[in-house]
């Protein structure tokens, strides 16, 4: 039979599933005699294949991708000679066939036919132009809203010709010194109807730029007004500073409860990429944002000293206003440059991760996944690798009406993996459930893991299947940080629940405010599959009390 399979081009690795030990092999054998097609179906039904890749579970469809003629960092960067420079910087769903996208050169386009597979008949229609580097797009109030470098703008077509004729300023007033790094992102809407936006910090301001700054004399920081802050705009159009300490907050998103989060990117004061819960009066990490702390409307005041050069847990203890990230995204392990935040609210149409966050990844052209829980009223949780292999940097994400996820790509200015410079791709769940750690929760004595499929009891109980260590970072003004104070944790027991879906790991050596890294390479599913991604990184700000 093996020979027969070989003849039809099956690889040796797939044949393994028909080993005598396998519970379904006899069925498969019989079915094989009846025909190849049935056997293939059986393989799918068994859900067992050793050739598992991310592709088998989540398929990438290229709606439109292009390669520029120059390197992503070239001084004279030019888009591809043909077609639209679809450097997607903002995106929202209009309906079950159309998508609105903002592109970095300052236009908004309506793309029709984006759900086609293959996408052969997508049409493009320009809705708005003359925007200054818009970095977000929201379909709201029968209009599109975008944050440009200097304002939040409502784009509206009032005469029905499908082209915006009103470019109304909803809010402005933050500092714009003219420095390139002062990107402004948003908006996203919260449960109360406020529109949120985030403002990059300026880097090394000089010359004319300094004339447009404010100076905070105690800490001696100089930045444009509200630079490094998260802001909200009320339905009345008031611009309200909410929280501070952001470096490059290119992703904003809300969870099921309507709480607002943002992602930050590694750099000065920022040890690695992070996910934070935005709320009033909280400071995150980039100290220069405190240049605005004593400005009218600021909910943060009177900080007289910023610790520089302490391990992060010590800095948190010294610096009352600073709150730890809900999730650290360890560098390289969970990407190199975090971007957008997407909440899976598809009700299962995007696979087993309903209610979780997906974080866009620029440099490694991928998406990562975040599970959050609330412990003592504060969010914390774990991140997991999810999908690599996009054609370029994933800058924006939005979930389509069918549950699939659109990825807006653009790598200009930095570098990314992938073969393209910009474009639009769509990630579709194939319907097959990957064997993954679905959730990771804090327990007083360790962690509880929920898996997407039943776990093989023997590998689950075997302590060699698991390893954990923990570490933190240095809080300092320098660029990024190594993982420091690394320690292994001793796992004492691994108990599998009766339904086979939960494993309770008990261990010694949990440390609050440290990242707890789990590698579960030895674990197998009931069907013998290894985990598609055996790594998880839990930010243990607080250990759950009994």
């Amino acid at each position: 039979m093996v020979e027969d399979l070989r003849k039809i081009g099956w690889s040796g690795s797939r044949i393994r599933l028909l080993s005598p030990n396998h519970y379904c092999s006899h069925f498969a054998l019989r079915l094989w005699l009846k025909g190849i097609a049935v056997a293939v179906l059986m393989v799918l039904a068994c859900g067992s294949t050793n050739a598992q890749t991310e592709d088998d579970y989540y398929r990438i469809i290229s709606v439109s991708v292009s390669q520029a003629t120059a390197d992503s960092r070239a001084k004279n960067w030019k888009p591809a000679p043909e077609g639209l420079a679809l450097e997607i910087s903002g995106m929202d769903v209009l309906d079950d066939h159309r998508l609105a996208v903002a592109i970095r050169k300052g236009e908004v386009w309506i793309l029709d036919g984006v759900y086609q597979d293959p996408p052969s008949g997508v049409t493009f229609h320009r809705f708005a132009s003359a925007l200054h580097e818009p970095l977000g797009l929201l379909n709201h109030n029968d209009s599109l809203y975008t944050v440009q470098r200097s304002e939040l703008t409502q784009l509206k077509d009032t005469d029905g010709d499908q082209v915006a004729d009103q470019y109304l300023t909803v809010a402005k007033g933050w500092g714009v010194t003219g420095h390139y790094h002062e990107y402004a992102y948003g908006p996203k809407q919260d449960r109360d109807g406020n529109l949120w936006l985030t403002l990059n910090i300026g880097l090394g301001l000089k010359g004319e730029e300094l004339n447009r700054t404010i100076h905070e004399p105690v800490l001696n920081y100089r930045q444009g007004l509200w630079r490094g802050w998260g802001m909200k705009v009320t339905p009345d159009g008031d611009l309200i500073p909410v929280c501070a300490g952001m470096r490059s907050p290119s992703g904003i998103g809300f969870n099921k409860a309507g709480d607002m989060f943002y992602t930050d990117q590694q750099g000065n004061w920022v040890a690695t990429n992070t996910l934070h819960h935005m709320r009033e009066g909280v400071f995150f990490h980039h100290a220069e944002a405190l240049a605005s702390m004593n400005q009218p409307g600021s909910p943060i005041r009177g900080i007289r000293r910023v610790p520089d050069g302490l391990p992060f847990p010590d800095a948190i203890r010294e610096f009352a206003q600073m709150k730890p990230p809900a999730v650290w995204l360890p560098y390289r392990k969970i990407g190199q440059s975090a971007t957008d935040i997407l909440l899976d609210s598809s009700g299962g149409k995007f696979g087993p991760f309903e209610g979780q966050f997906f974080i866009g990844e620029f440099t490694q052209a991928g998406m990562n996944r975040v599970f959050l829980e609330s412990v003592d009223g504060e969010y914390q949780g774990a991140c997991f690798p999810f999908r690599s292999g996009f054609a370029s940097a994933v800058l924006r994400m939005v979930q389509g009406t069918d549950g699939s996820v659109f990825a807006g790509l653009s790598n200009r200015g930095w570098s990314s993996l992938g073969t393209a410079s910009y474009g639009l791709q769509r990630l579709v769940w194939t319907g097959k459930t990957p064997f993954e750690i679905q959730e990771m929760r804090s327990r007083p004595d360790g962690f509880e893991l929920l898996f997407t499929k039943p776990v093989d009891p023997s590998t689950a109980a075997d302590l060699r299947s698991w390893s954990m260590n923990s570490y933190t970072y240095l809080y300092h003004a320098d660029y990024g940080s190594d993982e420091i104070q690394k320690q292994d944790l001793k796992i004492r027991s691994a108990k599998l629940s009766d339904d086979g879906l939960r494993v309770h790991l008990q261990m010694d050596g949990l440390r609050e405010l440290y990242v707890h890294e789990l590698r579960a390479t030895g674990v197998r599913s009931h069907d013998g599959e290894p985990l598609l991604h055996p790594d998880a990184y839990y930010t243990l700000n607080r250990i759950r009390r009994p």
Binding site: T69, A130, H132, Q154, Q166, T169, V176, Q336
Partner: protein, 896 residues
């Protein structure tokens, strides 16, 4: 004799060495007794392939190198001089691979096999067989000890630094994509030295002209025309069964930094991205030379660390001792191991010895499997080096000069490093026949062989400056980004003197001819401008300038050419390109020494060449050639047509909230949405959008046109507590809120803003006489806001309410010099400022049904020029609308 010297030092050591000595002695006897040419312990065994040295194989075997030069090449490339020391600097041996991290890099079984039969395991290897003279039975145990020692040497792989510019996925070496690796392998130049995959589909590129000619000739004709070298296929540097030797991680890290493992630099560094290195490694390990991956050991999770049994201390120690005694350490130096005692120095080797490495049946010495040509070449080289009197200085001087088959110092280096695999120099080398099809132009543009094959090096020392050559060897000379092949980087210590050697080889004088001598008239001030104009004659058709080109043009960028190229060569090349560079596509612009362009500099060739040099030398700061400027503007210059064009951007005058509006009438303005004012107006060309659209540094957009008028910042309308009160400096504090703009059917924007309890609509359009007409309509606020943001029950209170009866003023202009224009109608007063800007203002009440059309002009009650600091302000008292929907219209006419 040599042999006794070789082993004398080892006599009193271990039993193994005793046995080794005895075995060597026996072999020696065999040689002495029989003298047979056939008897050799390994000769005749299958798999003994002579060591492959690329330069020797390609040139010496075909009589294109003298026997002496061929032998010299072997002396270093086979590392002969690692044992047979020589004081001659050019005789430095090629060092062997560094073994200090071998344990994590190599696979145990392969190493054992390789030590037992280097040539059998890797046919063509330059690693000699050191166990050759041992009895068959002992070879295995000696190899085991050596393997144990070598595999005990371990160091972690270096960390690959990730950054925003360098994606480094976790365990990237396990994520390689074989098909991407295959493409890269065939694209970036690997196949200049290594074997291409015959199944790999190259993009069909037109055959080289030389190849086309060769296809039509028979072998006799080829020989007659001296094209034998061009017609020859070459053998490849062997890469057999890499999957037996490496795992994915070790091969990936080797490709990332070959010098780290092979300090000889014969395998150079291609500057691969981590992921690309993994892709190539994956292809080399899994798919190359057919054979499916399933048949090979998986390299995904191969545990590189050798088994504990292997690393038994006694075995490791024995191996360490052998490593020194067998002189492995002479080539594979290790930091904590003293060098081996040397063998007979090169200049004292007996030229006619019947024993030793060159013996017909070598025994008791490292066994290289040399063939007859290699042996005779080595003999010739040794004879030449020892020369009459064996005086080394004399040897250098006694070299026959001018013989093509005798390379000079520069050429020897190129031979050793196999530069000639890619680069042709003095009719020797270059990409070999039937390999050229792998060398492509990015995007498959046909720009001839110059556009896809590595450049020739004939006369390069007279062409390129030493600093530029240094940059090139350091991998910083990427000039031909349109080629898929990359110039790799070589170890600094190997190439640091090569620029100077090339200069000596190609130029008779020590210093290049000075610029002032080449271009006698270079000081003429008009030369630069003339040079720029000359670029448009032809250069722009093929070259790029500061990264800008005509559409579809691909060629070397001329920025920095004056620091790359010697002035004399530039001059000669421009004068007659073909005479300096054979088969170049560069056309001559001076046929018979005459310029085809008589308009510029009187058609004087010398002046014109000097002018082009002068311009290119300044290219960094000079404007681009006119045709390039024009081509660029096609992409980025905004030229308003039927509808106005708007660009929001940074501008120097209009600030960081600038909204520029351009009209087909070629009158344009920029509105400052932060200060709420018209900041600038100009005529002619509008703006270039490249910086706003695509440049990361977000540079300000500068007006392209002329007759610029800068208007000082400041809000248009304010209520002042008294007549001398200073005009508000800040729009926010003055109670202003910018509200955006609305486009009318023609696409003309009306700017919207609030001031106190008023809504303002500010519309600016060109006038027939190329000025601007501004219509400011002030309406008392009504309950609904212009934004649709939410439905409001109660409008928000205004931030800044005007106290009743406080006068409200319109500031029509502010300037250093300002005076009223006489003779204007009373209801349309005008001022003129120092920059000749004339501003006229009219004032009317609007029809509430049609708010922008004036229902009749009113006489201005109070208009006055007042001094404010250094400036004069023209203020006009406004009668503000008192009820909702009531409007006041201010018309302002700008003329300049």
């Amino acid at each position: 004799m040599n042999l006794s010297k070789l082993v004398r030092c080892d006599l009193q050591t271990t039993a193994i060495v005793m046995m080794l000595f005895l075995r060597l002695g026996a072999a020696q006897v065999v040689v002495a007794d029989s003298g047979s040419t056939e008897v050799s312990s390994r000769a005749g065994e299958p798999g003994v392939v002579p060591p492959f040295v690329a330069g020797f194989d390609r040139f010496a075997r075909h009589g294109e190198l003298s026997a002496e030069a061929s032998g010299e090449l072997l002396l270093t490339e086979l590392s002969c001089t690692a044992c047979h020391h020589s004081g001659l600097p050019e005789m430095q041996p090629k060092p062997g691979p560094s073994l200090k991290a071998a344990g994590g890099r190599l696979q145990t079984a392969w190493l054992k096999k390789f030590l037992e039969s280097p040539s059998g395991t890797k046919p063509g290897t330059t690693m000699p067989d050191l166990l050759n003279s041992l009895p068959e039975a002992e070879r295995s145990s000696v190899a085991d000890a050596l393997v144990a020692f070598v595999m005990s040497l371990n160091e972690p792989f270096p960390e690959v630094k990730a950054s925003g510019l360098t994606p480094v996925p976790m365990e990237f070496w396990n994520r390689g994509d074989s098909s991407a690796g295959k493409v890269l392998y065939h694209q970036i130049g690997c196949v200049a030295c290594h074997e291409p995959d015959p199944d790999h589909e190259a993009v069909r590129v037109p055959a080289s002209p030389v190849d086309q000619l060769l296809d039509q000739l028979n072998p006799e004709e080829i020989a007659e025309l001296g094209l034998a070298s061009e017609a020859r296929q070459i053998n490849s540097v062997p890469l057999p069964n890499l999957w037996e030797k490496y795992n994915r991680q070790s091969l990936t890290f080797f490709l990332l930094n070959p010098e780290h493992v092979r300090p000889a630099g014969r395998m150079p560094n291609f500057g691969l991205a981590p992921v690309d290195a993994a892709n190539i490694a994956t292809w080399l390990l899994t798919s190359r030379n057919s054979g499916s991956e399933a048949e090979r050991p998986s390299h995904d999770s191969a545990d590189p660390s050798p088994s504990p049994a292997l690393l038994q201390a006694s075995l490791v120690n024995r191996g360490r001792q052998l490593f020194s005694e067998l002189r492995c350490v002479s080539c594979h130096t290790l930091p904590d191991m003293p060098p081996a005692k040397s063998a007979v120095p090169l200049d004292r080797l007996r030229q006619t010895a019947s024993t030793g490495c060159l013996a017909e049946t070598p025994a008791g010495v490292p066994f290289y499997g040399l063939d007859e040509l290699q042996k005779s070449s080595l003999r010739s080289a040794i004879v030449q080096i020892q020369g009459p009197g064996s005086d080394q200085a004399a040897v250098l001087e006694n070299r026959p000069a001018g013989l093509e088959t005798v390379p000079d110092a520069a050429e020897s280096r190129l031979l050793k490093m196999n530069c000639l695999a890619c680069h042709e120099r003095n009719k020797r080398g270059g990409i070999a026949r039937f390999r050229k099809s792998w060398f492509e132009t990015v995007g498959h543009v046909d720009i001839g062989d110059e556009g896809r094959l590595p450049p020739g090096l004939t006369g390069v020392g007279a062409r390129l400056t030493i600093p530029w050559l240094r940059d090139v060897f350091r991998g910083r000379g990427t000039l031909r980004s349109y080629m898929t092949v990359r110039m790799p980087q070589f170890p600094e210590n190997i190439v640091k003197d090569l620029p100077e050697l090339l200069r000596q080889s190609d130029s008779t004088s020590t210093d290049p001819v000075a610029e002032s001598k080449v271009f006698a008239s270079q000081s003429m001030p008009s030369l630069v401008a003339a040079g720029r104009a000359l670029m448009d004659t032809g250069c722009v058709q093929c070259h790029s300038f500061r990264g800008e080109t005509l559409p579809g043009t691909v060629g070397i960028d001329l920025e920095g050419v004056a620091s790359r190229i010697h002035p004399q060569w530039f001059h000669d090349f421009l004068k007659d390109p073909g005479a300096v560079k054979a088969r170049t596509r560069m056309p001559t612009f001076f046929p018979a020494g005459r310029s085809q362009n008589k308009e510029i500099l009187g058609g004087d060739m010398e002046l014109q060449i000097a002018a082009m040099w002068a311009y290119l030398k300044e290219l960094k700061t000079q404007p681009l050639p006119e045709k390039i400027v024009h081509a660029r503007s096609q992409n980025y210059e905004l030229t308003p047509g039927d509808r106005p064009i708007i660009l929001r951007t940074f501008m120097r005058q209009a600030g960081t909230h600038a909204v520029a509006v351009g009209f087909s009438q070629k009158v344009h303005f920029a509105f400052d949405a932060e200060q709420i004012c018209v900041a600038q107006a100009w005529r002619g060309r509008f703006l270039d959008a490249e910086g706003t659209w695509f440049v990361r540094s977000a540079p300000p957009a500068d007006p392209l046109g002329e007759q610029l008028i800068d208007l000082p910042a400041g809000v248009p309308i304010a209520d002042l507590p008294n007549e001398s009160h200073v005009w508000p400096q800040n729009s926010r504090e003055a109670g202003y809120r910018f509200q955006g703009y609305r486009l009318d059917k023609a696409g003309v924007p009306s700017f919207l803003y609030r001031f106190a309890e008023y809504e303002v609509n500010d519309r600016i359009v060109p006038t027939e006489d190329h000025g601007l007409q501004r219509t400011i309509t002030v309406t008392r606020r009504i309950s609904h806001a212009p934004t649709d943001q939410g439905k409001r029950e109660n409008p928000k209170p205004v931030e800044h309410a005007i106290e009743s009866n406080r006068p409200v003023w319109f500031r029509a202009h502010i300037a250093k010099v300002l005076k009223m224009v006489e003779g204007t109608p009373a209801e349309v007063p005008a001022v003129i400022s120092g920059d000749n800007l004339r501003i006229a203002v009219a004032f009317s009440m609007a029809d509430s049904e049609n708010p922008t059309s004036a229902s009749g002009r009113h006489t201005i009650k109070d208009g006055r020029i007042r001094k404010s600091g250094d400036l004069f302000e023209w203020l006009i008292l406004l009668a503000m609308p008192e009820t909702a929907d009531d409007s006041v219209v201010i018309e302002v006419n700008y003329k300049w």
